[in-house]
Structure formats: C-alpha cells, structure tokens
Symmetry: C2
Subunit: 413 residues, 2 copies
C-alpha cells in the first residue's frame, strides 16, 4: 500500500489553518469563537466558501452543523469525518479547527484525484462542542440525544439562552430536532484532534490511535467538623475538617495505584473551607473529586475505594461525610476495526503511532452511539490546550492529516 499512499497538499492545509485562526482572534488573548457568536458565524461562512470552492456539496442541518459532501446520495451510508470550529474563550488555533480543516483537505484530495468510492463521504463541523451553552449540541442533535426541554434549558454562564443566541443569527434552535440521522446512514466516523495531553509529546510519537474516550464521575464532597477558635482550642480537642480532606487528598495516588488502571486519573480541583478565616479552625471542607477511566468497571471500583476511604477517615476523625454525584458519564470504546485501519495506515506511511485513551470529551463519544467511531490524535506541545499557548508542529499536523486522509479512503473505497 505504501506506494499508493495519498498525500495532502500541505501548503493549502497550512494556509487554511492560518486563515481560520484569524477569525475571532483578539490579538494575543487568543481566539473567541464561542458558539453562535459573530466569530463563530464568520467561521461557518468561511467554511461554506471552502466547501463550495472545493466542488463539494454544502449542507447545513437543523442544528446548524455544517456539512461538506462528496458523491452524496440519500440511499448509501456515508464515511464521515469532522470535529468543530467553535472555541472556548481565549482559545488556541487547533482544538476542533484542526479536525475540520484536515477533514476538508482529505475530501478535497480524494475529489481532485477522481478516485472511485464505494461510499459517499461527508465532512462535518459540529455546533457548540465546547459548551458555551449545554455542550456537544451539534453531535447530540445528530445522534438524537436532545429533546425540546434540552433546547429550552440550554443557557450560557450569563444566563442567556441557546434559543436567543441562535435567533439573533437567524436560526431556530428547535430545528435541531430535525437534525437526527438514522443509525444506518453513517458507516463510520473518524475525528482527528490534538491530544490536549502530554503523552504523545513526551514520547515524540506523531500519531495517537485512540482506544476509547474516558468516562468520568464528578463528586461534590463535604466533610463537616466543628469550627472553633484557632488560638484557644488545643490540638487534641479539634475536629478540623481540613485535616480530614488533606488525609483524603494524600490517599488519591494510593487509591489510583491499588484500584485504577494505568490510565486512571483523579483530581481534587476545587476546595471551599467554611468559615474560611485564618484564625478559625475549618468547620467544613467542601471539595470536588473527579476521576476518569475508559473502563466502567474500573470507575465503579474507584468509586467504591474513594467512598470507603472517605467514610472510614471521617469515622476515625469524628467528621460527618456526605457526597453527591454531580456527573456520571459512561466511557466509550473506539471501534476496533477503525483503530486497526488507523494503525495500519500509520504503519504503511512510516509514522510511529501509539495507542492511548482520550481523557477529554469529544463529539466522537456521541457519534459512537450510532456508528463505528474512531479518533486520531496528534501531539499537543506540553499537553497545553484551551489556551492561546496550544501548539502542534507542522510536521505532526502533516502526518496526522495524511493518516486521516488515507484511513478515510481505506474505509470509503
């Protein structure tokens, strides 16, 4: 196969990435293309023009997902690729955008080469992946996961609604209910994305073959002791809630080692002490715990271990322990055949590759509900993401785009 490898037009791809990165840019503060903002709408217009000038068919569904179609007919199922072009506030130029522009380039190369295809091909840019409103709006609409209530309740941090934001741009959010695609209309989906983690960068490997997307549980935990005067309460007469929390935080590595997998992670990222004064012993510590893995069984085992550690230290320290589960998102496996296609393609093209999980959420995890889904990762410099400091070398981008192109062609031909 090596001799038959297709090649992306690197200069064209690079120019597209650079053009798109100027849309919504606020000088050195990064890119602002939050969903349905003017920057986002301008990027959609840019993408539409690129699709049309590549002689692909432009289609916008009810969720305002932008599609570019090759050999489209309404009878055959398609090979789909894509990601999103909306961003977090102050974003870098790659998250989401890279997968859309590389997908566009892949379809362009296949179109230009007049290659015979057994299946139509489809590029997609999903709406509001980043969650300016509820998050993964476009892919959830496409996979039939949203309801009228979901649409009505979707609000951003300022309290403004998805309904109003779309209306301002001449769109009707309720149309998203019509965007649902029958399961058999998509034969396979591949998303290329930056890793947003440090693994490929630290291993100097350009291609990541994603095994699955981590599920997660997010807990809100409270340990309650007794607030007391920090000067007059002897050490042995204290019920210090922070001491309990510190013991728990110090046990996280042990719990991951004993009950997790090699890829399990757990984080306490938010802490509030009450009353929270330097001269008062903390009466209550309220904190988040988030843990992720690609295996639901391991997530459940970790949950048991965290609960056991918390309840036993609380009993010993005479603290009251309460928790609630704020999020419980199931892990998703990537399709084995698609993983194999990506691996073989990388191998044939002479690129090193490495199998790894995705710790971050992606539209692919929604797509996996209705089709075979896979992901290609390229390295993120120092794992940086959701920041203007996000960076991937042009060599790695070129390698990733070529693996995407040839993997898609393998599936479509």
């Amino acid at each position: 196969m090596s001799s038959n490898n297709l090649q992306i037009n690197f200069e064209r791809l690079k120019a597209d990435i650079e053009e798109l990165s100027e849309i919504g840019r606020a000088a050195d503060l990064g890119i602002y293309r939050t969903a349905f903002s003017d920057g986002d709408m301008q990027a959609r217009k840019w993408l539409k023009e690129k699709i049309l000038s590549a002689n692909l068919e432009h289609y916008q569904d009810g969720a305002a997902n932008v599609h570019g179609r090759l050999n489209w007919n309404n009878e055959q199922s398609s090979i789909m690729t894509g990601s999103h072009i909306d961003t977090v506030p102050g974003a870098g130029h790659l998250d989401g955008a890279l997968g859309v522009v590389c997908g566009l380039e892949a379809l362009r190369v296949i179109k230009e080469n007049n290659l015979n295809l057994n299946f139509p091909m489809e590029l997609v840019a999903f709406s509001d992946e980043e969650g300016s409103f509820n998050g993964m709006f476009g892919s959830q609409a496409l996979t039939g996961d949203i309801t009228p209530e979901w649409i009505h309740s979707a609000k951003n941090l300022d309290g403004s609604s998805l309904m109003d934001a779309m209306k301002k741009q001449g769109l009707n959010a309720m149309d998203a209910l019509s965007a649902m695609r029958p399961a058999n209309s998509i034969k396979a989906f591949i998303e290329l994305h930056i890793e947003q983690g440090p693994i490929l960068d630290s291993k100097k490997v350009p291609i990541g073959v994603v095994q699955g997307i981590c599920g997660l549980q997010r807990w809100e935990i409270s340990l309650k002791g007794v607030a007391n005067h920090a000067g007059t309460t002897p050490m042995h007469m204290r019920n210090d809630a922070l001491q309990g929390m510190a013991e728990f935080v110090s046990q996280i590595d042990r719990i991951i080692e004993e009950h997790g997998s090699e890829i399990s992670v757990a984080t306490v990222g938010r802490v509030e002490l009450l009353p929270g004064a330097a001269n008062v012993i903390p009466g209550e510590a309220i904190f988040s715990l988030e843990f992720r893995d690609t295996s639901e069984a391991i997530l459940n085992e970790l949950a048991d271990a965290f609960r056991l550690t918390l309840s036993s230290l609380a009993r010993r320290r005479k603290l009251m322990f309460e928790f609630s589960v704020a999020s419980d998102i199931k892990p998703v496996s990537c399709d084995d055949d698609i993983q194999a296609t990506i691996s073989e393609t990388a191998q044939n093209m002479g690129y090193q590759y490495f199998s790894l999980p995705s710790g971050a959420a992606h539209d692919s995890q929604k797509m996996a509900a209705i089709t075979r889904a896979g992901m290609i990762f390229v390295p993120s410099k120092s794992g940086r993401s959701h920041s203007a400091a996000e960076w991937t070398s042009w060599d790695d981008i070129s390698s990733g785009a070529n693996v995407l192109l040839n993997s898609l062609y393998q599936l479509a031909k």
Copy 2:
C-alpha cells in the same frame, strides 16, 4: 485568710450582666455593640450611671475609655481592673462585658465595706478591643502605642474610618493621643475574662490562672505547580499544588509534637486553589498558616520547622514555595506575683484552679508593657465564643468574681 474573704453581691452582679446583655441585642441574632455604634454608646452611658450610683468617680479619657475610680488621687499608682464592653457583631453576653461588670462589683463591695486601702483602685472599659477598626484601640492608647498615623489609618471592613465613627458620637479620635498613662501610674492590672476555649470546661475547674498570652505568627503561603487538564494529564506527569498543600497540612501535628510545647497550636484556616475548577489540576494553592505559643523561642523553632517542611516538600514535588509573614505578635507573660496572688486567693476560697495560657488576644497583653498584668479565666461552655451560644454557669461567674474581688483587695490593701 479564709474567714476574711469578701463576697460579691451575686444578685446585683447577675442583674447587671443581664441588663447590659439587653443593650444592642438583636433578638436571637446576638448582641451588636461594635465600637462607637449606638449600642456601644448606650452601654457606655449605662456603665457611667452604674459607676456614679456606686459613688465611684467617673472619668472618660481621650480614647473614650470609661473609668470608675475609688480613692483616686493623682499621686499614687492605682490597682486597675477591667476589660471591654464593645462586641463583635452577633456576640454573646460575656466576652469583655463580664470583666467590666465583675470589676465594677469588686470596687462596689470594697467601697461599701469602707475598707482601708493603700492604693487607689480603678475600673476601666477599653474602647474597641474587638477591632471594629484596628483593634485594642483603648488599651493601646493608654499604653502609648498609637500614633496620629495609626488613628488616621484605622478603618472598618466597610472602609469607614475611626475618625468619622467617633466624630458622629461627638468624640475626637485624635484626643486618644492624650490618653497615655505613665508606666508608674498603674501598680497592677487584673482582667477577668471567659476562657473562649474548652480547657476549663472539660476539666470542670472554675478558675483559670493565666500564665501568659500567646504570641502568634500568621503566614500567607503559596505553592505553585502547573494547572493542567484533569482528564488528559497522567498522574505521574502532574505538578499538583494541592497535593503539596495536603502533605503539609498532614505534617502539622507531627511538627507541633516535635517542635512545639504542650500548648502550641497551628491552623490552616483559609485555602484558595487556582484556577479552582473541578476539571483542572490545581496550579496554585494559596493558604494561611497561623501558629501560637506563649514562648517566643518555641514560635521561632516552629517557624523554622514549618519552613523546612514546606521547602523540602516543594523541592521534591517540583513546586514553587513562597510565603510572607502577615502578622508576628510577640507572646506576653503574666506577672508571677499576680499569678501567685490569684492562685492563693482561689485556694483560700476553696475553688479549684488551673494554670493555662490564653490563646486569644486581650487588652492585658498591651497593659503588660506598662504594668504587672494578670488574668483570671472562667470556663466557656464547650469553648464557644464570639457567638450568641457563648455561655458560662452562674456558679462559675460567681467564683470568678469573688476571686477577682479578693485578688484586687490583696493588691490594694
């Protein structure tokens, strides 16, 4: 001496405590007599009337400290007692007020009995002990610790100034500079106060003989790591600032045991994580550390041990460690002779007593700079203080008031 013991008039004392506790009371929210508020001014007026009706001489100095004087002359040094009648917001009925009312009762009993005295006696209610503005205003003015700059800069949490607050009540804050007393004008000072801690209550001992008032150091500490995505950053590639803080908090007991005294205490009461989101590894932990002891040498040894632990764990964990000293208050010893007088008095009256430090700050620590100072503690139920739940049994109050009365008489006769 036992047969010669003076006795307070318990019913009169109880009535005074109850009357004063109604001034500034906001139903079940507790008492609001913050310094120079209308409640505070009403309490001063009440105290003035009590002083005059006991045939004591009323005097208000430039810092608006209220004095009640017995056998006063401007030549002899006085035996002084007192505390403060201002409160924190939502206070109980005893903090400060008890020491003033018991002091008043002591002078009344001595006056009524026409006892011969070698020294004049003096009751004082110090202004703004609680720090509605800068704190310990009255005792610092009396001991010559304040300057015009201090007075100008004294502001409360709302930003309103001591100058304005006093002006509204017809007082001139600058007059406080005239309140300074020569060191030889006071022969001894005794303050009765509730313990504000749990020691006497847990030991069921009515009288505490205070050995000294703890000094304290308060630090602002920062541990800096790297904020990163909680899903994509493997456990072994993290620089989690909270993990460093948790290790430190878990070492506090060990450090107190190895480097502190039996009475040393240390507290982390305030924590801020940055960026402080459930899905981001903490990049920085900013927290307070406060430690107290009655020995300056021990405070210094604790400071060294805390610094060593923080700097070595930061080095091992690749965190950046910085701290600043926000407060450094030297400990104060109570006068040995006055401690002995209080202990002997309690012994002679058949009350159990126990020597202990004061973990909280008091006007006495300022007074110790210009005279021999001592303190008598009575139990605080469960150590509660600065709260409407503050409580001491009438029996314990009666015991404390009698020990104060007879100790003062021993010093003055």
